[in-house]
C-alpha cells in the first residue's frame, strides 16, 4: 500500500502547473464553504447574543400549555413559582432567576398606538442581569414598589413622542378576560441600541402587573440567567426531571424561524457547494484522462510487471484523491485568510435590521468565526468528490491491454 501511495504522490506532481491549477480550484471551493460557515456562525452569535438580552434570560420556565413562540404570551399562572425559583437557583451555572409576567398589549398616547409586549419584573432580583434596567439613559429604573410606572425603550419613546414624566396608556387583558387599561407615568427610558426591538417591550413592576391582570401573588414565567451562553442544554436537562409538568425552553426555541432560516439556507448552500466542487471535479477528471493517455506505455509496463487492473485503477484514484487532499490544505489556508480578513473589518448589516424580527437583533457589525466548525465534513466531501472524479479515468486505465499498451509509442 505504501508503494502505491508513493507512486500516486509522485504521479500527482509530474506536471506541477496542471496539478496546481486544479488544486487551486478545489481550494477555492472549500474556502468558499468555510466563508459561508464562518458567516453563519457570525450571524448566530450576533443575533443570539442579543436575543438573550432582549428575552431576558437564557432559559424560561412556563406552565404547561404556554406554547412557546415569542408571538403569544398567555396569562397562564405558574403553580408554585416560588418553589421553582428555589429549585432553579440550586443548579450549577445559574447566576440569577426571577419571576415575571409576560403579556401583550397596546401602549398608546395621543400621538398613536403600538402593540407591545408588557414584561413585569421583580427589579431587585434582576438587578445584576436585566439589561434594560442597567441601560437606563433617562429617568430611573424600576423598583418593586413602583405603582403606575413604566420603563420604556428609547425606540418606543421616540416613536410615541414621549419622555420621562409623560403619561402613556397601557391596555391589556387580565386573566379573567377583563380589559385592563391603565395610564402610567414613564419613569425611565432604556437604550439597548436596537430601536426596533426596544419598541417591542415595556417593563412594569411585578406587583403592579399582579393587580392589573388579576394574578394576585402569581407569575407566568421564571426567567433563568446563566453564567455563559451554550450551557442551556445542560441546565435544561438537569431541570427537566426536577420540574415535571412545566415547559422549559431556551432562547433558541423562542426564535424558531431563525433556526429554520439558517437550516434551509444551509441546505441550499450544501447542494450548491457540491455542484461547485463538481465543477472543480471535472478538472480532475480531465487531468487524469489526459494522464491516462500520456502514460499508456507506462500502464503497459505496470501491467506487464503483474499489476492487476484493480491495482492500476487504485493508482489513479489515489492520485485524484491526493489532488483533493492538497486542495483541502490550500482551501483551509485560503479560508482562514478570508475569514481572518473579514473578521478584522466586520460586515455591516445594520441597514437590514428592519427586515425581519431576527435581523432587528443585529446591533453591531457581524464578525464571522473562523469557519472550522464543519471543516471535517466539508473536507471529506472534497476528498470524496475528487476520488469520484478519478473513477472514469481509472477504469479507462485498467482496461488497457498490457501487450497493446506496451507497443504504444
Amino acid at each position: 500500500m505504501k508503494l502505491y501511495l508513493r507512486l500516486a504522490w509522485r504521479n500527482t506532481w509530474r506536471h506541477r502547473r496542471r496539478t496546481l491549477i486544479i488544486v487551486l480550484a478545489m481550494g477555492f471551493g472549500l474556502s468558499l464553504m468555510m466563508m459561508y460557515d464562518g458567516l453563519v456562525d457570525g450571524f448566530n452569535q450576533a443575533i443570539y447574543g442579543n436575543a438573550i438580552k432582549v428575552l431576558g434570560g437564557n432559559i424560561q420556565v412556563h406552565a404547561k400549555g404556554y406554547g412557546g413562540s415569542a408571538g403569544q404570551k398567555p396569562l397562564l399562572a405558574l403553580d408554585n413559582d416560588g418553589g421553582i425559583l428555589q429549585t432553579v437557583l440550586t443548579q450549577p451555572g445559574v447566576v440569577a432567576a426571577s419571576r415575571r409576567i409576560n403579556t401583550g398589549g397596546l401602549a398608546s398616547s395621543r400621538e398613536g398606538a403600538f402593540a407591545v409586549g408588557i414584561t413585569a419584573i421583580e427589579p431587585e432580583l434582576e438587578q445584576e442581569v436585566n439589561l434594560a434596567g442597567q441601560n437606563v439613559i433617562d429617568g430611573r429604573g424600576l423598583t418593586s414598589d413602583d405603582g403606575d410606572s413604566v420603563l420604556i425603550g428609547k425606540g418606543l419613546a421616540e416613536a410615541m413622542g414621549v419622555g420621562v414624566g409623560d403619561r402613556i396608556t397601557l391596555t391589556g387583558r387580565s386573566a379573567h378576560e377583563q380589559m385592563r387599561q391603565r395610564t402610567m407615568t414613564v419613569i425611565g427610558i432604556y437604550d439597548l441600541g436596537m430601536p426596533d426591538i426596544e419598541k417591542l417591550t415595556v417593563y412594569i413592576s411585578l406587583n403592579e402587573a399582579q393587580t392589573l391582570y388579576d394574578l394576585s401573588g402569581a407569575s407566568t414565567e421564571v426567567a433563568i440567567f446563566l453564567d455563559e451562553v451554550g450551557r442551556e442544554r445542560e441546565v435544561i436537562a438537569a431541570l427537566t426531571p426536577l420540574l415535571p409538568g412545566y415547559e422549559i425552553q431556551s432562547f433558541t426555541d423562542s426564535y424558531p424561524e431563525l433556526q429554520y432560516a439558517l437550516a434551509s439556507k444551509g441546505q441550499a448552500m450544501d447542494i450548491f457547494s457540491v455542484i461547485i466542487l463538481g465543477i472543480a471535479g471535472i478538472g480532475i477528471l480531465n487531468l487524469l484522462l489526459m494522464a491516462v493517455y500520456e502514460r499508456t506505455r507506462e500502464i503497459g509496463v505496470l501491467g506487464a510487471l503483474g499489476l492487476k487492473p484493480r491495482q492500476i485503477s487504485l493508482l489513479f484514484i489515489l492520485e485524484g484523491t491526493f489532488i483533493g487532499v492538497v486542495g483541502v490544505g490550500l482551501g483551509i489556508v485560503l479560508g482562514l485568510a478570508f475569514n481572518g480578513m473579514i473578521r478584522a473589518v466586520g460586515l455591516d448589516f445594520t441597514a437590514m435590521s428592519g427586515m425581519t424580527s431576527y435581523t432587528a437583533l443585529i446591533t453591531d457589525k457581524v464578525y464571522p468565526s473562523w469557519g472550522v466548525g464543519r471543516l471535517l465534513s466539508r473536507a471529506v466531501t472534497v476528498a470524496i468528490i475528487a476520488a469520484l472524479a478519478a473513477v472514469l479515468p481509472a477504469r479507462e486505465a485498467a482496461q488497457r491491454d498490457p501487450a497493446e499498451a506496451l507497443h504504444y509509442v
Binding site: I22, F28, P74, A113, A159, I276, I279, M355
Partner: protein, 407 residues
C-alpha cells in the same frame, strides 16, 4: 475567418470527451449562477410584489402629517372625505383602482391569549381587495354594511385556534387617544400565502372601522394601484394638492429595494469565484492541448504562421468551448429554473414583525432577461479570458524548439 473556425472546431473534435467535459464545467457553473440569480430575484421580487399588493400599493395618498409608524388616528393626520378623494384619484387615466383604507393598531384576545394585530378598515367591494377575497380559506368575505364581522388571517387563526363563527375581542386605538374594545365575529379566514402578514392583519369594513375608532369620515390613506407601476410621476402631478402627501411604492419599499441591490452586489463576488473555478478547468485543458500540439505549432510557425495567428487558433477554440458551455448552461439552468418557477423552492422563512419583508412559504424562481444576458456574457468572457494564457503560451513557442519536440 471561416478557415479559423473550421480549424478550431476540428481541434476540439480531436478529443471530444475532454472538450465536452470542459464545456460541461462551464455549463454547470452558468446553470448554478442562473439558478442563484433567479432565486434571489424570485425572493426579492416576490417580496416587493407582495408588499405592493398587500401593504403599500403603487401609490398612497395621505395627509401630510400622517406618520405610518405611529398609526395615528387623530383627525388632522387623516384624509378627510376619503370616498370623494378616492373617486377623484380613480378617475385619472393610469389608475386601476383607488380605495380608502383606515389603519389602527391593537390586539385581539380570545379566552386567555392575545396577539398584536393591525386592524385595517377596507372598502369591501373594491378591486384592491382581490388578494384577500381570492384567498378566503373558510367562511365568506366581508359585506360593506357588516357591523360585527371581521376577517382574520390563516396564521393568526392557527395561533389562536379560531375558526369561522367564533367570537374574538378586538382592542384598537382611537382618534381621541384612548383604546376601545369590542367583540366581533370571525366571518371568514383568508390566506395570502404570507404568514407574516396574515398573522398580523385583521380586516373589517371601512364604515365599521371608522365608527369603532372614532375616525368618522376619515381614512389613513388612499391605496392606489396603477396600470403601469412606472407611471407614478404622472399621477403624482395630477393629485398633488396642499395638505396631502403622495408616496410611491419605491418610497415605501426603499429598504427592500436597497436590500435587493445590496444582495446582487455581493453575489457578483460569489459568481466570480464560481466562474473562476470553472475557468481553471478550461485553462488546464487548453494548456494540455497546447503541449500535446507542440510539434504541430512548430510546423505551423515553420511554414510562416505568425504568433498572432497561432494565438487566434487557440482563442477561437476557447471561444467555441465557451459557446458550447453557455449553451449547455442555458439548457441545464433553463430546465432546473423552469421547474422551480413552477413548483417553488421551500426556502422562505416565516417572519413576524410589524415592519419588514413579506415572504411566501415558497420561493418561486424568477429568471429575468437582464440576469440571463449578464451572466451569460460574464461566463463567456471568463472562458475566453481563461483561454488567453494557454493561447499566449502557444504563440510564444520558438518554431525550431517546437519542431524538435518529441511528439
Amino acid at each position: 475567418m471561416i478557415q479559423l473556425l473550421k480549424l478550431a472546431f476540428r481541434n476540439l473534435g480531436r478529443n471530444r470527451r475532454r472538450s465536452f467535459f470542459s464545456a460541461l464545467a462551464m455549463g454547470m457553473a452558468l446553470a448554478l449562477l442562473l439558478l442563484m440569480a433567479s432565486v434571489i430575484r424570485g425572493e426579492m421580487g416576490d417580496a416587493i410584489d407582495l408588499s405592493i399588493r398587500l401593504q403599500s400599493g403603487h401609490l398612497q395618498v395621505r395627509s401630510a402629517t400622517y406618520d405610518e409608524a405611529k398609526t395615528s388616528l387623530q383627525w388632522e393626520d387623516l384624509v378627510e372625505n376619503p370616498d370623494q378623494v378616492a373617486a377623484q384619484v380613480a378617475s385619472l387615466d393610469p389608475v386601476t383602482v383607488a380605495t380608502p383604507r383606515l389603519y389602527a393598531s391593537g390586539f385581539v384576545t380570545t379566552r386567555n391569549e392575545s396577539a398584536p394585530v393591525r386592524a385595517v378598515g377596507i372598502d369591501p367591494p373594491s378591486e384592491a381587495n382581490a388578494p384577500y377575497r381570492d384567498g378566503i380559506r373558510e367562511g365568506e368575505f366581508l359585506s360593506p354594511d357588516d357591523r360585527e364581522g371581521v376577517l382574520i388571517g390563516w396564521s393568526l387563526a392557527q395561533r389562536l385556534d379560531l375558526s369561522t363563527g367564533d367570537t374574538v375581542s378586538l382592542s384598537v386605538n382611537t382618534s381621541n387617544g384612548e383604546v376601545e374594545e369590542q367583540a366581533f365575529t370571525v366571518r371568514g379566514i383568508y390566506s395570502t400565502g404570507t404568514s407574516g402578514f396574515d398573522g398580523l392583519t385583521v380586516l373589517l369594513p371601512l364604515a365599521k372601522a371608522q365608527a369603532f375608532t372614532g375616525a368618522e369620515d376619515h381614512a389613513s390613506s388612499i391605496f392606489v394601484l396603477l396600470k403601469d407601476p412606472a407611471q407614478t410621476d404622472a399621477v403624482i402631478a395630477a393629485i398633488q394638492s396642499p395638505g396631502f402627501e403622495v408616496l410611491t411604492w419605491r418610497d415605501m419599499n426603499e429598504l427592500l429595494i436597497q436590500t435587493e441591490q445590496l444582495s446582487s452586489g455581493y453575489m457578483v463576488f460569489f459568481y466570480l469565484i464560481v466562474l473562476g473555478i470553472a475557468a481553471t478547468v478550461i485553462v488546464n485543458t487548453q494548456i494540455m492541448s497546447v503541449y500535446e500540439r507542440t510539434r504541430e505549432i512548430g510546423i505551423l510557425s515553420a511554414i510562416g504562421m505568425r504568433g498572432r495567428n497561432v494565438m487566434a487558433i487557440f482563442l477561437t477554440e476557447s471561444g467555441m468551448l465557451a459557446t458550447g458551455g453557455v449553451l449547455l448552461g442555458l439548457l441545464i439552468g433553463g430546465i432546473v429554473i423552469a421547474y422551480f418557477t413552477r413548483y417553488g423552492l421551500p426556502l422562505a422563512v416565516e417572519n413576524f414583525g410589524i415592519t419588514g419583508m413579506l415572504l411566501r412559504e415558497r420561493i418561486y424562481t424568477q429568471l429575468t432577461v437582464q440576469d440571463t444576458v449578464q451572466l451569460t456574457l460574464m461566463s463567456f468572457l471568463v472562458t475566453v479570458l481563461a483561454g488567453l494564457y494557454p493561447a499566449v503560451l502557444a504563440s510564444r513557442m520558438e518554431p525550431v524548439a517546437a519542431l524538435r519536440a518529441e511528439k
